[in-house]
């Protein structure tokens, strides 16, 4: 039986539809909640978020995978209300965006404790929300190399993925030799890992995307829309055509089975201004039309946004 945990409860993978695979309802670094510069009223947050999700749904979007880690403003009760009112399935994560977003309590924790925490959030629930995490988030801290804490989190995530059957999504796919070594040591099949942000402007050159695919990992081209053509592009922006060509080249090289795409949206950013002109709906308004224009057929598009995500997100046990 195919099964995926959403914030409103488990659903069959057949119901997921078009999936935005690596997104955020609202992301902020831990501690930003202390700085009133970024505070928004609940009215503002709903106003910024609901129309984007509704439009996503109208375009045919079925599921939004939120990979906002434990200390980054993850707010499951809020996600539940958004999902219930817009009809978009929302999948929440357990885990951390990177060691540098894990607060001291978790930064001091052992692999065993972290794994137990992740497993609890996947099998019992997140806090007192009753919602179970559907994926595990891990990532590489700022600086380009995995820290000791990053490695502890990756190892705990591998154990939790094996114990529960949910997949892992990574923030950044740099330093992949180290992460793959950990996953192999723990015995986790690499098709249960989506190595994300292979396409971002800062890290694309340093990311061995094809090598990761050859090892059996999935590769995320999931920062679509962060373009140098934007009015005020972020530091990880990249020329639109360059990113698209990178992705098309990966597909043409025969890695379609292992490719996933998303836009790393921040519907209502929490501790930073966000990027003007970038939204979740880049996926339907720009990315999919660009792929069609480049000659990508419908079967491939369905594979990328419906079939592969369903296969990846389905709990495997």
């Amino acid at each position: 039986m195919s099964r995926v945990n959403t914030v409103l409860g488990p659903i069959p993978a057949e119901e997921l539809g078009y999936v935005a695979i690596h997104e955020h309802i609202g992301y902020g670094m831990p501690g930003c909640e202390l700085d009133t510069n970024w505070w928004k009223t609940p009215e503002q947050r709903y106003e910024e978020t609901v129309p984007k999700l509704r439009k996503f749904h109208e375009y045919g979007g079925g599921t939004f995978v939120d990979v906002t880690g434990i200390c980054n403003g993850r707010d499951v009760d809020y996600y539940k209300s958004l999902s219930a009112k817009t009809g978009v399935n929302i999948i929440a994560c357990t885990g951390f965006v990177g060691g540098d977003t894990a607060l001291p309590f978790f930064a001091r924790a052992s692999v065993e404790y972290l794994a137990e925490h992740f497993i609890h959030e996947i099998t019992v629930g997140i806090g007192d929300t009753g919602s179970r995490a559907g994926v595990i988030k891990v990532g590489v801290s700022r600086g380009g190399r995995m820290t000791e804490l990053d490695k502890r989190i990756y190892r705990a995530a591998a154990r939790a993925a094996l114990a529960t059957g949910v997949p892992i999504l990574t923030h950044l796919a740099i330093d992949a030799e180290n992460s793959i070594a950990i996953f192999k040591e723990e015995g986790l099949p690499l098709h249960r890992v989506l190595f994300g942000h292979a396409d971002d402007g800062v890290n694309a050159e340093k990311t061995r995307d094809r090598w990761i695919a050859e090892q059996g990992g999935r590769v995320g081209f999931d920062t679509f829309g962060y373009e140098t053509e934007l009015e005020d592009p972020p530091f990880w922006a990249r020329p639109r055509k360059q990113r698209l060509d990178h992705f098309l080249g990966f597909l043409e090289a025969g890695y379609l089975e292992q490719a996933l795409a998303g836009v790393d949206a921040n519907c209502s950013p929490l501790g930073w201004p966000g990027v003007k002109g970038h939204t979740l709906n880049y996926l339907f308004e720009d990315l999919i039309p660009d792929l069609r224009e480049a000659g990508v057929d419908e079967a491939t598009i369905t594979k990328l946004f419906v079939e592969s995500p369903a296969e990846f997100l389905t709990i495997q046990n």
């Binding site: 902020g28 670094m29 831990p30 501690g31 930003c32 909640e33 202390l34 700085d35 009133t36 505070w39 928004k40 434990i70 200390c71 540098d100 977003t101 894990a102 607060l103 001291p104 309590f105 978790f106 930064a107 001091r108 137990e116 925490h117 609890h120 959030e121 019992v124 806090g127 801290s141 700022r142 800062v202 530091f235 990880w236 501790g271 930073w272």
Partner: protein, 332 residues
């Protein structure tokens, strides 16, 4: 009427005349939560239980003659301003809460690896702005509202030695103290005199600073309590009731107090126990090992007699427990 008597102190229920503070414990914790522990699957935060536990400890403090508790845990270690307001109303004990953060290890990534390229940690000026608003506009209930004014800025340095971000924290705390009139409470890293120098370098008068942790064995060995008092800052012996590998005994503390009084620094001494009302997320057994399970009244019930044995007069004791904290906490 002395200058201090005309002044006020920021408590969680609003300004209180400084001469109403009575006996003060300057370095305590009400609710102490290791950052992140609030999300842990195996930690419960039962608000009723937390309230009742802390209220019982505050009443015990009050029943032994205590009138004011300073929660010196800063803005990111479990501080719960609404809870403290209710505790103060219910027990009659004045509660002074703090802004500030530190050591660096306890900070969130927002301050250490911000979403900029490169991810440069916050400079002193930004910390000063954050802390100052907690005094001038009120302490935050994150993403909800501001409440009453913080009564002091608390920060700390790493035991292995002050980090560059901690230098920013210390300088930021000093700037907030200068612009708002509240004092700075700092816990030193591995060199009290060195660490104090950063706040003094910001032109903050030494008598607006209390240096904590000065009853650690390494502080005593270095002669730090006398050195700090000589510079004009307040000396906090703030682990009264605790004796372990790192901390002196109460007997040694009492002797040190007598020594400082004899040397003419009776107006620089502060006492506290670093007791915790309710702790969440501390490593197993840490509460017992660090003595933080102590009652806030421990100084009044158990330590004051040791001071009397050392020959301190009632006036000396009153100066340490009442006058000195009043002078420190009075907003200038």
């Amino acid at each position: 009427m002395t200058a201090a008597e005309s002044k006020t102190v920021h408590t969680v229920l609003g300004p209180v005349p400084a001469d109403e503070l009575g006996v003060v414990s300057v370095h305590e914790a009400l609710l102490s939560v290791v950052p992140g522990a609030q999300y842990a699957f195996d930690i419960t935060m039962d608000r009723v239980e937390i309230f009742e536990t802390i209220a019982a400890k505050l009443k015990d403090f009050r029943d032994h003659g205590g009138k004011t508790i300073v929660d010196s845990t800063g803005m990111f270690h479990g501080r719960d301003v609404k809870l403290y307001e209710a505790l103060s109303r219910s027990t009659g004990v004045h509660i002074v809460a703090s802004t500030g953060m530190g050591p660096e290890e306890m900070l969130g990534g927002y301050f250490l690896t911000p979403q900029t390229n490169p991810p440069t940690p916050w400079p002193a000026e930004k910390f000063a702005d954050l802390f100052t608003k907690e005094v001038t506009e009120g302490m935050v209930v994150p993403r909800v509202e501001r409440r009453g004014a913080a009564g002091l800025v608390a920060t700390a340095a790493d035991r292995a030695g002050m980090t560059p971000t901690e230098e920013s924290l210390f300088r930021g705390a000093a700037r907030t103290a200068l612009s708002t009139g509240v004092p700075v409470s700092l816990r030193y890293g591995n060199d009290a005199v060195h660490d104090l120098a950063f706040v003094l370098d910001e032109q903050l008068p030494a008598d607006r600073v209390v240096v904590g942790d000065l009853d650690r064995k390494d502080a005593l060995a270095a002669g730090a309590p006398l050195a700090i008092a000589t510079r004009g800052a307040f000396v906090a012996l703030d682990h009264v009731g605790l004796e372990n590998d790192a901390h002196a005994s109460d007997k040694e503390r009492a002797a040190l107090v007598a020594e400082l009084v004899k040397a003419g620094h009776g107006d620089r001494i502060l006492l506290s126990s670093n007791a915790i009302g309710v702790a969440k997320g501390q490593p197993d057994g840490d509460m017992g090992r660090t003595g933080r399970h102590l009652q806030y009244s421990y100084i009044l019930t158990t330590f004051v007699p040791l001071l009397t044995e050392q020959g301190l007069s009632d006036e000396d004791v009153a100066r340490i427990l009442v006058d000195n904290p009043r002078d420190l906490l009075s907003v200038r």
